[in-house]
Amino acid sequence: MRAEAHDNPEYGEAGPQPVTRTGAGRNSATVAAMQVPAPFQYERATSVEHALALLSQLGEAGSEVRILAGGHSLLPMMKLRLATPEHLIDIDDLAAELGYVREHDSAEGGPEIRIGAMTRHRELLESPLLAARARIFTDAERVIADPVVRNRGTIGGALCQADPSEDLSAVCAAVGARMVIRGLDGERVVEMDEFHRGPYQTCVAADEILIEIRVPAPAGAGSAYEKVDRRAGDWAVVAAGASITLGPDGAVTEAGIGLAAVGAGVSCPRAQASLLGGPPTADAIEHAATIAAEQEAAPVTDQRGSAEYKRHVAGVLVTRALTRAAARAAGSGG
């Protein structure tokens, strides 16, 4: 994701990344002007197992360690001293092992799309599978940063950074994605609600790595993403994702709504539940959008707009996303 940490109030003192060791014995004014990260030790992992071994070994030695994926969120934060890890484990070489979008028939959950954590934004945007079966990703990727940034940024990096204005957390919440997290002792699979703990916080432990995102892709599902930003490629003022699955009778069997940039949470359980069992009529969608905007969004006033404005936009975007998702579900799917 692109760097705009200075422009995001969520990066302030109250954030989970305390500003520590600023300057670390150097002339901090000069360092700030040069926009270079504070010194760190660099390790380059050649496999997931290697990265996990490094995490464990450095963690036991008491070091503050961060994983570097595409680097388009972490490096800007390091330049601003909002993150000052002592060790970086660069997992760029894992793009071969963890860069994929593929179909999988899950034994218990039906068909799903599995996305490797090192899959870059560009690959998500250009994936024919996602464009056919989970168009919310294609919609969102079109408006994430710009083409050059999308060449580097990864889905795993975006989700683990968990910037409050970040788009893919809302996308994953809307489609009910599950996250596969690996440690030296094995893997665990968690729902988005457990994964995403708030701004810059996830359930991934210090000795674990997010390796895969599993997206349910049942027949009769449709999804869409809507975003309002101040200029092309910017962080969202507000964004909303939605997914709808229709049964043979045209009633909603599954519904998902995800929000970006309007508070700590990304999911809308009450609004989702209101849609179940009936057809996705304009009234039903309007009702769900009102619940999401009035009860589940928690926007704050900042330089991107007032809380009142953002709440209004959230309602409009949820309505639009649900309407498009329902049309796609009733049409060719995706």
């Binding site: 692109r2 760097a3 705009e4 200075h6 926009q35 270079v36 990260p37 504070a38 010194p39 760190f40 030790q41 660099y42 380059r44 570097l68 680097g71 388009h72 490096l75 800007p76 390091m78 330049k79 970086l88 660069d90 760029d92 940063a145 710009d146 083409p147 050059v148 940034v149 060449n151 580097r152 092309a232 490629g233």
Partner: protein, 180 residues
């Protein structure tokens, strides 16, 4: 640490701190100052270079990460005294004013044309595709119209093939034609 990479088809290596960003490694360690250094926050796109053929913002890539990869900078566009069709296009269509964004713009254009060539794209390049490709890069002279024309010129002259565009020696191509 020792950082080694291929830059413009030549093996280059230098010592650098792990925190050294690719843009500074290229400019300061290798003295390749054609890559410009702008906003430093991955917004402006002045520092775009090609990493394994694809444009990246070199202010937001560690030199250590680029180690072992192939980097192409604006200095690598001209080969043996012959301008790249993209460079010819920028000259023919007045694709630059102050020139600060030009290296990054030209490299993104090069990658766009290379990707199309690799895919044997049958459709002609549209202005919308060009504008999308350069949308992560800012021209503060706001000369986008001529930049788009320059890239389209390069695409058209590449199609015509390597026989015309890019085969004029630099000294000859600085002659009368460019003054039209």
């Amino acid at each position: 640490m020792r950082v080694a990479m291929t830059v413009n088809d030549a093996d280059r290596a230098a010592d650098a701190e792990p925190r050294t960003l690719l843009v500074h490694f290229l400019r300061e360690q290798l003295r390749l100052t054609g890559t410009h250094w702008g906003c430093d926050t991955s917004n402006c796109g002045m520092c775009v270079v090609l990493m394994d053929g694809e444009p990246v913002k070199s202010c937001t890539v560690l030199a250590a990460t680029a180690s072992g990869h192939s980097i192409r900078t604006v200095e690598g566009l001209e080969v043996d005294g012959r301008l790249d069709p993209v460079q010819e296009g920028f000259r023919e269509m007045h694709g630059l004013q102050c020139g600060f964004c030009t290296p990054g713009m030209m490299l993104t254009a090069r990658a766009l044309l290379d990707r199309r060539a690799a895919q044997a794209h049958p459709e002609p390049l549209t202005d919308a595709e060009i504008r999308e490709a350069i949308s992560g890069q800012i021209c503060r002279c706001t000369g986008y119209t001529t930049i788009v024309r320059a890239i389209r010129w390069a695409a058209e002259h590449e199609l015509a093939d390597d026989k015309t565009a890019g085969t004029q020696p630099v000294h000859a191509s600085l002659g009368g034609e460019s003054c039209r």
